[in-house]
């Protein structure tokens, strides 16, 4: 008879391992890092396919006493794991033949890579779909919901995209769609898909536990990056826990530091990264930076819980984005005037009470950023003028109202259109119309107002950042307004920074954040140097100078 090293028995949805001798317990803890180190003798594991596979492997080395039924049950879990794994690998092969889907409108097709995402979600039941902006993540989600098992489905979207989703879903499929109104639950009319805004989730929180929604899809899932710290996060967690299929959509799932991925996975598959303590111990270098982003990115892919294809991966031609970084002279008097105040605040940050210190530090950051924006606004306007006088349509991104005011004053003759936090939805729509129809060549946009905005790409290929954001993904989202299907020209993105004020430290923080998220989102990708070609801007500047000379001569 084979020697045994303890026992293993099924108890409900757990496996219980008992009478484990110390030397085997030590091995067990090395191999299963989530087993608490202080636990001895008895250990429990969730009874699912993945644990079944790991446990049967451990039992090959250290056999344990088991009943025949349990042995069959464990073997079943292992086989399930292997066949699931094989099925998912087959889906991702280029020669995979996806099933035909009914329910598309006449003339609409699901592309091969979209079908792969759909079938992987059905097989894995949880997926973070990180396809590049413009690869049709909305259509992948719509295609998923053509499978009857996924209905009814809840789709959670950003406020300004609820109508756009409704339109896309009904143009693409025959699914019936209901837009949720308000934050007070009412009797839902029959429909296949229910469109929630993130801001509505909390109001509906108590209706989510009944499992009515078989699927939940989160558009721009980075909205949930603060995890359970927000009301919408707590509501989303309930929605996720009750749903069978969970899909997160975002080309930019990590907005800031790498640790955000733990919060995102909480809503898609909360077992994959373990508890926060596990995650922190195993993956993080401190409380927000991932020690090895590439390893984490590879792990998520290997678990088939993340899928990301670039435009190049699916055979689309993409010219690189021409990124120009220019040093702009700040107006030093603006920076000086904050300096005095800053000095007082700085004093508080070192000598004040704990609360005072924290607040003073934040105020200093905000003030510095504001002053930096204002100090360079004039020269930013001059730079943009060069482009405008050459008839180049420009998207100009900023953050502070005072900065917009300077731009509006300096560039008045170009009748700028505004798309910022100060405009109503109707005013924004009008601004977009004026720009798209060519009534103005300048659209001033707030850094954080642009997500999902579509249509500018037919009109414009140049974006100027007159102020920086703290998150590199915000810049990416703004560039994504132009860099999308329908754009015929290569994109130029110009960052106009100063070497004084808030810009230099912000640039370094942006670098750290980008380098983290790139590792997780695109592990193993050969890093490309930034493509930077100033020749066009230089030519425009020369043209500008010679036209000024002519004007003077005349």
């Amino acid at each position: 008879m084979t020697k045994t090293y303890g026992s293993l028995a099924r108890e409900g949805d757990l496996w219980r391992m008992g009478d484990v001798p110390p030397h085997v317990a030590i091995r067990l803890k090395q191999l299963f890092p989530r087993v608490p180190k202080w636990q001895t003798g008895t250990f429990t594991f969730p009874a699912d396919a993945a644990h079944g596979a790991d446990l049967s492997w451990f039992l090959m080395r250290y056999p344990m006493a088991m009943s025949l039924d349990d042995r069959i049950s464990l073997d079943g879990e292992r086989q399930q794991f292997e066949s699931d794994r094989a099925a998912m690998e087959a889906i991702l092969r280029p020669d995979y033949r996806p099933a035909e889907r009914l329910g598309l409108r006449e003339g609409q097709v699901i592309r091969h890579y979209q079908a792969q995402a759909i079938d992987l979600t059905l097989a894995r039941k949880a997926l973070l779909l990180g396809d590049d902006v413009g690869l049709g993540k909305t259509y992948s989600a719509a295609g998923l919901m053509l499978d009857k098992r996924t209905l009814p489905a809840a789709v959670v979207v950003e406020t300004h995209l609820q109508r756009q989703w409704e339109q896309k879903l009904t143009e693409f499929t025959t699914l019936t769609v209901h837009r949720i109104r308000g934050t007070k639950p009412y009797d839902l009319p029959p429909a296949d898909v229910y469109l929630f805004k993130y801001s509505q989730l909390l109001g509906w929180i108590d209706t989510f536990e009944d499992g009515f929604f078989k699927t939940v899809a989160y558009d721009e899932v980075q909205q949930l990056r603060t995890g359970l710290n927000s009301g919408k996060g707590q509501a989303a967690k309930r929605l996720s826990d009750a749903a069978e299929y969970r899909l997160g959509l975002s080309a930019t799932p990590i907005y800031n530091y790498g640790a955000e991925i733990w919060n995102i996975m909480l809503f898609l598959d909360d077992s994959v990264l373990g508890t926060w303590n596990d995650f922190q111990r195993e993956w993080l270098a401190d409380d927000r930076q991932v020690a090895d982003p590439e390893a984490l990115g590879s792990y998520l892919r290997e678990q088939n819980v993340m899928l990301r294809r670039t435009k190049r991966d699916v055979g689309q031609q993409v010219p690189p984005i021409n990124t120009i970084v220019e040093q702009i002279e700040p107006d030093s008097s603006t920076l000086k005037s904050v300096e005095d105040l800053a000095r007082q605040l700085a004093l508080k940050t070192t000598t004040g009470t704990f609360m005072e210190r924290g607040r003073a530090g934040r105020e200093l950051d905000l003030l510095m950023r504001h002053a930096t924006g204002v100090s360079k606004a004039l020269n930013v306007a001059r730079y943009v003028r060069i482009l405008l006088e050459a008839g180049v349509p420009v998207l100009l991104a900023g953050w502070h109202r005072d900065v917009y005011d300077i731009w509006l004053r300096e560039l008045r003759e170009f009748a700028p259109a505004m798309y910022t936090g100060s405009e109503s939805d109707a005013q924004k729509a009008e601004s977009k119309r004026r720009f798209v129809e060519g009534e103005t060549n300048l659209l001033i946009i707030s850094l954080r107002s642009g997500a999902g905005l579509d249509g500018l790409q037919y009109r414009c290929s140049t974006v100027v950042f007159g102020e920086l954001d703290w998150s590199p993904k915000v810049h990416e989202q703004i560039i994504g307004r132009l860099d999308r299907e329908g754009q015929l020209e290569s994109i130029t993105a110009a960052y106009l920074n100063t070497d004084d004020g808030a810009d230099p430290p912000m640039v370094e923080i942006l670098g750290v954040k980008s380098s983290q998220s790139t590792g997780i989102v695109d592990p193993g990708r050969q890093l490309q140097a930034r493509h930077s070609d100033k020749s066009r801007i230089q030519a425009l500047a020369e043209q500008f100078l010679s036209s000024k000379k002519r004007q003077k001569a005349a």
Binding site: A285, Q289, T323, V325, P472, H475, Y495, D499, P504, P505, V507, E508, I509, L510, G511, V512, S514, S515, Q516, T518, G519, L527, Q528, A529, R530, H531, S532
Partner: protein, 123 residues
């Protein structure tokens, strides 16, 4: 081609690199690969005797550039370090590639010096 033009090209090249902004060893390996791929002539971990070991010594048209890469720099300490490098006869000019926002004087011991932002490459 003049030195200044070529050093300008080296600076432009360095400004465009996207290097790991957290793990310095990795960033150094990435930079070494990139320098090799672009055909720059350089030595890694170049010993400067008592003055220490500089991360890279890049030869640009007869001019030897000491290039130090620091993900996170303590400003005063790195300045002292560059000062020591500047004392060595093998060094003609100094470049610091760093993820800490900082400035350097235009020359250190009469040798031209410059800072390049590690974060800038990621824009």
């Amino acid at each position: 081609m003049s030195h200044t033009y070529q050093i300008g090209q080296l600076i432009d090249f360095l400004q465009r690199q996207r290097l790991d902004a957290v793990r310095e060893k990795r960033a150094q390996a990435q930079l070494s690969d990139a320098l090799t791929a672009e055909g720059w002539s350089f030595k890694r971990e170049y010993p400067l005797g008592e003055q220490g070991v500089v991360d890279f010594l890049v030869e640009v048209g007869g001019c030897r550039v000491a290039l130090e890469l620091k993900a996170k720099a303590q400003r005063m300490r790195i300045y002292r370090q560059l000062e020591r490098y500047a004392e060595h006869p093998d060094v003609d000019c100094l470049l610091l590639l760093t993820g800490t926002a900082m400035a350097l004087p235009a020359t250190i011991h009469g040798k031209p010096a410059g800072v390049i932002s590690l974060g800038g490459g990621w824009l």
